[in-house]
Symmetry: C3
Subunit: 325 residues, 3 copies
């Protein structure tokens, strides 16, 4: 994957990287490392990371030339991959990722923006008062952008889209016929950092947000971009007001999500799913296709296809209602 939005500031010599990680390693200092990626995505001359036995099979096949890992896990790496043994794999990975992608660590306001009437979009887009547009933005035909909306850098908007007022978008691919209503914040980094009592260490978010064709995003949504992977909203999926979608979440097509729902990081939601108002879904879960989640539910386990659940923790809706007459 070539990152569409975040500039890779590499290559860096392996010497620089081992110095950054404060480790000792005998190596030819001049070798260049081109990029950082996960075990599957990394190529020759890239660096990757391996922090859990779960990924042993993937580690065994990685093409990466270097791998940040532990003294135990390193034995599962192939011969072509030089292990960089560290105490905390994720923290070290974060540091190296921040070296390659320094623009992905903090999300300060975009200083590159211009008034839209000073850009090429002046003729092409219908826009309100006080609209500004950042660098590396593309907007299709027949689009509307409301008052005070800020399209920050790294945004691609398809055709026939309507963006509301007071919204802020960055690092996002928007399909065709999409409606994004007012006060939305899309593409900001997620709530991802390593806790540390002196000062928490933020890790880079090099993923983006992808919003499929025909979607509607309600007022006041916050949709964070991914850290290593992307945050994805499938086609024709509709979100009501005040919804929070955390980083790396992937939502299928034709899904309907009512007001004030929150979906925690890295969860995967299927197609044709219906989620009632104020429901919450924990992180790293898999919710199948055609699932119905009643309003107010708290989902803390995977849900298989075609299930209907309710409650906190969410369970089969019939059982829940029988137990709670």
């Amino acid at each position: 994957m070539v990152n569409p939005f975040f500039k890779n500031h590499g290559p860096f010599s392996i010497f620089e990287i081992i110095k950054l990680l404060k480790i000792n390693l005998q190596t030819t200092h001049k070798e260049q490392v081109k990029n950082i990626n996960d075990l599957v995505g990394a190529n020759v001359n890239d660096i990757t990371f391996f922090h859990s036995k779960k990924y042993k099979d993937l580690a065994n096949k990685t093409k990466a030339s270097y791998c940040i890992t532990t003294s135990i896990l390193k034995n599962d790496l192939p011969k072509n991959c030089v292990p960089l043994v560290v105490d905390n794999v994720l923290v070290s990975t974060s540091i190296v990722t921040g070296k390659f992608y320094p623009d992905a660590v903090y999300d300060n306001f975009d200083n590159s923006i211009q008034d839209i009437n000073k850009t090429e979009f002046k003729e092409k887009v219908k826009y309100g008062k006080n609209v500004v547009i950042g660098k590396n933005v593309s907007i299709g035909s027949n689009c509307l952008i409301g008052h005070n909306t800020i399209i920050e850098q790294n945004v691609v908007i398809g055709n026939n889209c309507s963006i509301g007022s007071n919204s802020i978008i960055r690092n996002t691919l928007v399909g065709d016929n999409v409606k994004i209503l007012d006060n939305c914040i899309i593409g900001k980094h997620g709530f991802g950092f390593f806790p540390n009592n002196t000062k928490n260490l933020r890790y880079p978010h090099i993923g983006i947000v992808q919003i499929g064709d025909n979607c509607e995003i309600g007022c006041g949504a916050t949709i964070d971009r991914g850290s290593m992977s992307n945050t994805v909203i499938g086609k024709n999926t509709f979100l009501d007001n005040q919804i929070h979608i955390a980083h790396n979440v992937k939502i299928g097509d034709n899904t309907i999500i009512a007001g004030q729902v929150g979906i925690a990081g890295s969860s995967i939601i299927g197609k044709n799913v219906k989620i009632g108002g104020q429901a919450g879904i924990s992180g790293h879960l898999k919710i199948g296709d055609n699932v119905e989640i009643a309003g107010g539910s708290g989902v803390i386990k995977d849900i298989s296809d075609n299930s209907k659940v309710m409650g906190y923790p969410a369970k089969n809706i019939r059982h829940f209602l029988r137990e709670n007459k």
Copy 2:
């Protein structure tokens, strides 16, 4: 009811309407249909809709000249009313409503607005930076409007009102002495559409939002306007921050609603009700007067007057607390 804000683009000939619905009907093509309304509100020369046996008694007395209905229900219509038999009554009703009220289907940003200092309100209102005002707006005496606030079209504001900054209001009647704080979005269409795997079909929202005298609306509220009826906030009702009120909800006088509460579509809340933080109320419910709903509760059934409830699903608060010691 003459719609105060949405322009009726009719009359249309019945010929146009049956063509739009793709149905066969022997009729005098030149008859004009003036408006669309529900079974009770419709008059001679109007069209109405009848989709459930529940409304049989109302259907029997309707004055409408035409009625969108099914082949079974049509037998309950009076003789003066010509049935238009369709497969899906609500979808067909939505299509016809959109024909009469095309401005009520989508809520793109209001392109009619002007800087307030170019309007009649320049002298009358105290306002912040970057305030804009749409068409068909009226503002009483002694009002304040904060920075970046967008009063879109179709808004009536009473006397002595204070609107905060970064708020967006449209299609709304605001009483006297009302405070609307920052970042609110009031009068936007609700989350109303017919799911369809190719592309969901939005239905028009021809209702408005009414906010009674002496109300306070907290920061970050989203209050959607009604679809066929109005969304109503009673007098002296106070809403805390981050509250979502869906379309067609009606809230009585002197009610107090704490932060992050969500009320789903078409529910009716009584007078002197107290709702604790983060509580959720499902759609189409009736909550009586003087009811107290504990914070975090999930209400999925009607609640009678003077009850105190707690839990998910919400039940008598004493029972809940006894069971959850």
Copy 3:
């Protein structure tokens, strides 16, 4: 405590105050009352209030010269303190507080603001489009302020801070290295008033918001200032998106709060606490240090140090999970 932001409009003669409260009292009319404060903070020539037996010991030692109280409680006051006996202590206190601090009752938009490029901050701060700054604002070195952000009056921002776009801040002390993301509203009055069927009576909020060094405040936060005390966010505490922190809440250092959490008024949260998404915490509670509260929980009781809780009402997490297999 000298209030850092709200101007004390006193002193007022005791004659004016007893007239305001509509009570009869034999007194030297010319005595001046300097300030209003709680039982502990009040000094000689100040007025205080005493409304519950709980505070008997504090009442007994107050230095205040006057005390708003009831006919029963007055007997616990020291001899140097003249009781002002009223029907409703809190309402009377609110009225007198509003006399001393009239600017703390209502939060209308700040009319004192100027475009930042007309202020001393023009050279010192990096800022976006349409940024405005109120009176009595101080900003440290190396700070960023995003587009459309409104720094209203009474704000002190430390060094190396990044404020996002579309945010509104007032009556707030911000430490060093703080990040406040987009669409936040910080320092507004809380949801504090006395219900009254004709017109609710708002009480003044003379507290402020304090945000410690190294904090991050996510998008769409609402953090209300305190009424009598302050709302405090400890150092290196991170808040995710769409969080609501009510008035007088105090949060310790190094705490992590996930998306859509709500904390009701006057609750105290310890250090190193972790709160999962959508959890809610009732008012006036004490949550100890190192506590973990699972996402979606509803906390209605104090939680002791080092506990892990889950559920609604929240209980020991192991018990909850065992009971809900």
